[in-house]
């Protein structure tokens, strides 16, 4: 059986400087994979190549066996990839439920429907997903007035709208209180298990990483210096050197 996500020899450089060099890894369905590394290690570049925002110089990305290298974010989403952003990106003038409805409308390819109140489309499904992430009681609120943690949870719900096989989460817990972090990651892990999703996330918070990841990859200066189960990575000499015990 092919892996859910396969990456081979991914490389990107800017003006002769390698941001990401020859990175290869794979992710199985139902697993949670963390991508870590110090600032500037190439995490974001790597991540953005996976979701289609940046075109790699070299290398191949396969999602569920299909080559997605160089596809647009839109096309990748259509293949069943949900994602959340480091700095949340939501539709701030719309309510929480409307944010969900837009994603669901897009999933059902109904965005160019010129008739009817969009507010009546997919209400049940939207609320079910919001309930799943614990946002059901805030469905009527404007997105622009939500607390940051709630925005993160909304993003997770939006990412699930297209019934994805793979979730890409860029620092999902950044800016959250410790309790919220644990809750969100537990929720993510539960959803991944229940729905058989693969999850790839980047994260600064080592507690979160070691508590929730099935496997961990460590990037430094664009290169993958270690990968394995948390215990392996924790004991890796190069990883220790890179972080100089600076892991929080």
């Amino acid at each position: 059986m092919t892996a859910l996500l396969e990456v081979e020899g991914l490389t990107k450089s800017y003006g002769g400087v390698h941001a990401v060099r020859d990175v290869s890894f794979a992710l199985e369905t139902g697993k949670i994979l963390a991508l870590i590394g110090p600032n500037g290690a190439g995490k974001s570049t790597c991540f953005n190549m996976l979701n289609g925002q940046i075109r790699p110089d070299r290398g191949v990305i396969r999602i569920a066996g299909r080559n997605t290298t160089g596809l647009s974010p839109r096309a990748i989403w259509r293949l069943g990839v949900g994602r959340t952003f480091q700095i949340t990106a939501t539709f701030n003038s719309m309510t929480v439920r409307e944010n969900m409805q837009v994603a669901l409308l897009s999933h059902h390819r109904e965005l160019f429907v010129p008739r009817g109140f969009a507010g009546r489309f997919h209400v049940g499904r939207a609320d079910a997903l919001l309930d799943l992430v614990g946002m059901g009681h805030q469905a009527e609120r404007a997105c622009g007035e939500l607390a940051y943690g709630d925005l993160k949870r909304l993003e997770l719900a939006v990412a699930l709208a297209n019934e994805p096989k793979l979730l890409l989460m860029d620092e999902p817990t950044a800016g959250m209180a410790p309790k919220e972090r644990a809750d969100l990651m537990n929720l993510t892990a539960r959803i991944a298990r229940e729905r058989g999703l693969g999850v790839l996330f980047t994260e600064h918070d080592m507690d979160v990483v070691f508590a929730h990841a099935d496997r961990i990859m460590v990037l430094n200066r664009g290169e993958l210096i270690a990968q394995g189960v948390p215990q392996q990575v924790r004991n890796d000499a190069r990883v220790k050197a890179t972080y100089l015990g600076g892991a929080t």
Binding site: V102, S106, A142
Partner: protein, 623 residues
């Protein structure tokens, strides 16, 4: 060969004054994000003041001192305007400041006629720079040579100011990232004031420097303002060096262009801008803008479709409007029909701006194309009004299909300026193509069919089409497609991440808006009985913007209220008041200060302030 060299020098001299005005505009925009429509007014005031001063003072000191004093006086006026007016509305939605500066411009146009009289004024020549010098056997005015040196000198001084002073460093930082400056603990208020003062000083100086070679007249402002905007955009917003290069490019292309195509000046700058923006979406030296400032959605009150009560109220209003012929006569009906036509036009632009977040500076193009389309069908093909009203707007649609495809590749002010460029190119075709469009003499005799010729019937026809059109646009805003537009507007990143093709959504929105504008245009042609190039010219596009902004860009149908207020006021003032522009400008400035969210935005704020329980009860009862 010698001739070409001298022509090049002439181009450089023209570039100098253009650069002064454009650099001021660019600096102001870079820091404060204000689209300062009044920049041309400051330029004109600079020229008038310099005229008065140099006429009073004598000798070289009097002349040069007069120019400088005039520019400084303009800067002082700029400071007053910034403190009294603009400071109050920095937090308003983007472009709202455009409305305030537009009001100022109107006021200044009448004020200069009141103060300096209607005749063109010719100032003195510059002492010591009166004659010409022979270069390559051709006479080149000394004053031109002075301007050629002055342009790069001012550029150099600005460079020193921005690189070598703390103030300049702050300005540059603010141009790149406004929030960062706030974080540095700098007094942002005074930074903005000083930047605005410098910008209008340059405008005033640019105007003052014109008096030895130009006539000072009350139409100077409009002559320069659009061209200055174009130069700023070609150069890249906020880039002073870019403004310089762009001024030189535009002036030289014009100087040499007229040798081959003597009629090119009419449209040249817009062709250059369109070409450059298509290939370099941020101008020559501009940088890609980060995520645009979140302006829409600042009011955290999500849009709601009409409740049942509101829907009944709207239907009643339409019914009451339909009864107008019972109470008033032919003139009131034609005025009402005109207001209705502009209501539809404004609603179509409002749809694009509020739902789609796309501020078009050239929406009149589609209105005008619809009008010309109807006129072609009615006059050239000799078909009846019914056919013309159906087919005419298709020309607006076609224009929107073609231009929109290019425009939606851009965003923000660059998008706005590309729409302006296409509108001006369309205008110049209507203006130049005498065989097809009658040129500026227009197409006459576009009158309604006999059954609709009397004012009541035509009014009902316009009312029916307009009401349907506005209702359709409103319904569209709440349809899935409307959600797609709002999604693309709120966050490009998120939209793409959930499979929304932003460009396709916005392109479609552009076409929808263009088509409805075309319908309004076709109705307008039959209302007036004629079509002229002014139907797709810049002033009409500005009128549209004013209507939308006045109504409130954060509201779904604010444009409707804005159009009714603005158009009724404008028609009434032109008919009644001696200095109608002064009054209209004053009213706009007052409205801007009183209702920074627009008229409907203000009403919605008031309604939201009522006890929540009551509002909730109303909503429940309705849905």
């Amino acid at each position: 060969m010698e001739f070409l060299a001298v022509q090049f020098l002439t181009g450089l001299a023209s570039a100098a004054s253009l650069f002064l005005v454009a650099s001021g505009l660019s600096i102001i925009f870079g820091v404060t994000r204000i689209v300062n429509f009044a920049h041309g007014a400051f330029y004109m005031l600079g020229a008038y003041l310099a005229y008065t001063l140099t006429e009073r003072l004598s000798g070289p000191l009097g002349f040069w001192g007069g120019l400088l004093t005039a520019a400084l006086a303009i800067a002082a006026i700029g400071v007053i305007v910034e403190i009294m007016l603009l400071r109050r509305i920095y937090r308003a939605p983007e472009l709202f400041q455009l409305l305030a500066t537009f009001g100022l411009t109107l006021m200044v146009q009448d004020l200069v006629v009141m103060i300096w009289g209607p005749e063109d004024l010719v100032g003195p020549r510059a002492p010591g720079l009166k004659g010409a010098i022979e270069i390559f056997g051709q006479l080149v005015p000394r004053y031109d040579l002075f301007l050629i040196v002055l342009g790069p000198t001012v550029l150099g001084l600005l460079w020193l100011l921005f690189r070598r002073t703390r103030w300049g460093v702050l300005v540059r930082a603010a141009t790149q990232d406004r929030d960062m400056v706030a974080a540095l603990g700098v007094n942002q208020k005074w930074l903005f004031t000083s930047v605005f003062a410098l910008g209008v000083f340059l405008a005033g100086l640019g105007g003052a420097l014109q008096i030895p070679r130009d006539a000072v007249s009350h139409a100077m402002d409009l002559r320069i303002i659009v061209e200055a905007f174009v130069v700023v955009v070609i150069g890249g917003l906020g880039s002073v060096f870019g403004a310089f290069i762009a001024a030189v490019i535009v002036s030289e292309l014009n100087a040499f262009g007229i040798l081959i195509l003597p009629k090119i000046s009419l449209v040249l700058v817009f062709l250059v801008m369109a070409a450059i923006l298509v290939f370099r979406p941020w101008g020559l030296f501009g940088r890609a803008e980060g995520q645009p400032r979140q302006t829409l959605g600042l009011t955290i009150r999500p849009w709601k479709p009409f409740t049942r009560t509101e829907r009944i109220a709207a239907a009643l209003a339409a019914l009451v409007a339909a009864l107008l012929p019972l109470v008033d006569g032919a003139y009131a009906l034609t005025v009402a029909a005109e207001i209705l036509v502009f209501t539809l036009f404004a609603a179509s632009l409002g749809f694009l701006m509020t739902v789609g977040g796309l501020s078009s500076f050239g929406h009149a193009a589609y209105f005008g194309l619809g009008a010309y389309g109807a006129a072609f069908v009615a006059k050239s093909a000799g078909l009846p009004m019914e056919v013309a009203l159906l087919v005419g707007p298709l020309l607006g649609l076609a224009g929107a299909v073609v231009f929109g495809w290019f425009c939606v590749r851009l965003s923000g002010v660059y998008f706005a300026m590309l729409t302006l460029a296409f509108a001006q190119i369309t205008w110049s075709v209507a203006f130049q193509w005498v065989e097809g469009t009658g040129g500026d003499n227009g197409i006459l005799g576009v009158w309604p069919s006999a059954w609709a010729a009397n004012p009541e019937r035509f009014y009902w026809l316009v009312l029916a089409i307009t009401a349907t059109g506005i209702a359709a646009l409103r319904a569209l805003a709440f349809s899935p497609f409307g959600y797609a537009m709002r999604a693309a507007r709120d966050s490009d990143l998120r939209a793409e991440a959930i499979g929304i093709d932003r460009k396709r959504v916005q392109w479609t929105a552009f076409i929808v808006a263009g088509t409805f504008a075309g319908i309004a245009g076709a109705l307008f042609a039959f209302l007036k009985g004629s079509v002229f190039p002014e139907n797709l010219a810049i002033p009409l596009s500005i009128d549209g913007l004013v209507m939308v902004l006045l109504g409130g860009v954060e509201t779904v149908s604010g444009a409707v209220a804005g159009a009714i207020v603005y158009k009724a006021l404008a028609i009434w003032l032109v008919s009644q008041a001696e200095f109608s522009k002064l009054v209209l400008g004053g009213v706009i400035v007052t409205l801007v200060v009183a209702f920074p969210k627009g008229i409907v935005g203000f009403i919605e704020d008031m309604r939201a302030r009522r006890p929540r329980a009551k509002a909730a009860a109303v909503a429940e009862a309705a849905e």
